[in-house]
Amino acid sequence: MATITLSNVSKDYGGGPVLRGIDLEIREGEFVALMGPSGCGKSTLLRLIAGLEEPGGGQIRIDGRLVNDVAPKDRDLAMVFQSYALYPHMTVRENMSFALKQRRLPQAEITRAVEGAAAKLGLTALLERKPKALSGGQRQRVAMGRAIVRNPKAFLFDEPLSNLDARLREQMRYEIRKLHRELGATSVYVTHDQVEAMTMADRIVALNDGAIQQVGSPQDLYDNPANLFVAGFLGSPPMNFLDATLAQDGALVVEGQTLARVPPPAGLASDAAVTLGLRPERLALTTPTNSVPTRVDMVEPTGTGRVVHLALGAQRLKLFTMDTRPLAPGETVGLSVPPGAPLLFDPGSGTRVA
């Protein structure tokens, strides 16, 4: 179990910075997801922690010890790769024993540890097989087994589930979570999948363009995004962003219609242009007479409910509803925005203003 502390870490491959000013404290036993789109620097950050890349600047500490110049093998971290990186010429047993043999543990102890981990992951019957003879899901388990057998200070996961099909991914999400609860080990989990980050992490680190956008619990990021990036990354269907003006009295005007009223925030000019963020599931359908009339563009059933695409003047937005009333494209319906739903962002910088 370990704490991992990054202070002012940066990385540059020569074509501009990949990571800038990263400050992050990963607490003991915590499950932290590094989340962002491809190219945001999340994998690089993980590789810096692993020691597979050298930081351009800043300090990386594990349990308080500066590890900038410590070789990966001496950091006592286990990593699960996206490609699994199983040693193709070794059996499952040899794959899982590799790290323990490297440490020159007695054979009996290695056997015990490997068989214990194999039992935990349901790999016992596969121990003598080579990776070639395993399915994708089984390979993923072996990669996990190779990590847990070592009992490392922390686990690093580099998009470990992205090569699995949707069903297996869901199952492994659950199993990794369960393993984390059993082992209580510090885990850093890189993913571009917001569902993985939401469902698995104690805390999410949202990254974009090589910088941390926000750190917090999944619910916190979902409810209180710090900027447009975080707001748009979490949630499916994603948050609606509308061009709006905020009147002095707190009226939010979109396409000439007052969509909602908010307590007027201090420091904003009258009739300021804002970007209005609305979560599709927070919106409600009503009748056109007592709320803002909008036109139904398209209806997508999802099984649990329906995603309704609406046209409000020249702008489009989505609404998620479990309402079962018949809806036809072209029909005019009422849109109601409950208090508390509107999030306001500065259209220039993208930062949240209210």
Binding site: P72, M79, Q82, Y87, P88, A99
Partner: protein, 275 residues
Amino acid sequence: MSKTFTRALHALALAAFVAFALFPLFWLLKVSLTPDDLMYGEGVRLWPSRVTLDHYGAVLRHTQFPLFFRNSLIVSAATGLFATAAASAAGYAFSRFRFRGKAWVVGVMLISQMFPLVIIVAPIFRLLSPLGLTNSLTGLVVVYTAFNTPFAAFLMQSFFEAIPKDLEEAAMMDGATRFQALRRVILPLTLPGLAATGGFVFTAAWSELLFSLMLNSSAAVSTFPAGLLGFVSKFSVDFGQMMAAGVLALLPVGAFFLLIQRYLVQGLTAGAVKG
């Protein structure tokens, strides 16, 4: 119908090619087995009316061929070993590391492959002579290793590129140094590549004539390609013995390739197909 036809055509084309490629070898064997009195007497025919192993006996007992053979074996094996080792190290570095001057090193190695060897035989002789490396097997090993390493290094580089970086990184996370990762994970996976490269270098050294002829004049350090020329005298050519020696010289290379062919096919196609 048309499918069987194209398949037959395909087989026919292959058979024609194989026959074309192997015919000289067949002729080598045929002449080596033809008794001297039938060599010219029977005209051109595919198989002599009588065969004999006399030429083989003569080559092994009455010529210096066994000595040449031994020299060739020493030179080729040593070259194969050294060049493959150097090429593996270079190929690994090219494939995995970014370092200052890498483009230059690669460029110079490429340029070294562009000269016809004939041009540089004389300078090489001048270089090796004061070092006592002419008329020596060591000299040949040095020259062959130097000239075969660049291509072999590019070959090894492509084999290393076919092995995902993740594997050695996983090994390094698992407590191995880079060198341990190389030895325990990457090297076992490169065996086909090593076999292919080793085979290539061995064969190149085995059949090299120019340097062997120019650098070594003493029979004691002649390799067999140079030695074969000894069967050509001023007034006659002993075709029977020459061909017998040729067949014998084929044996180790043939045996070697038979041994590694499983790896070779795998090796030469590695990286060609993704996955």
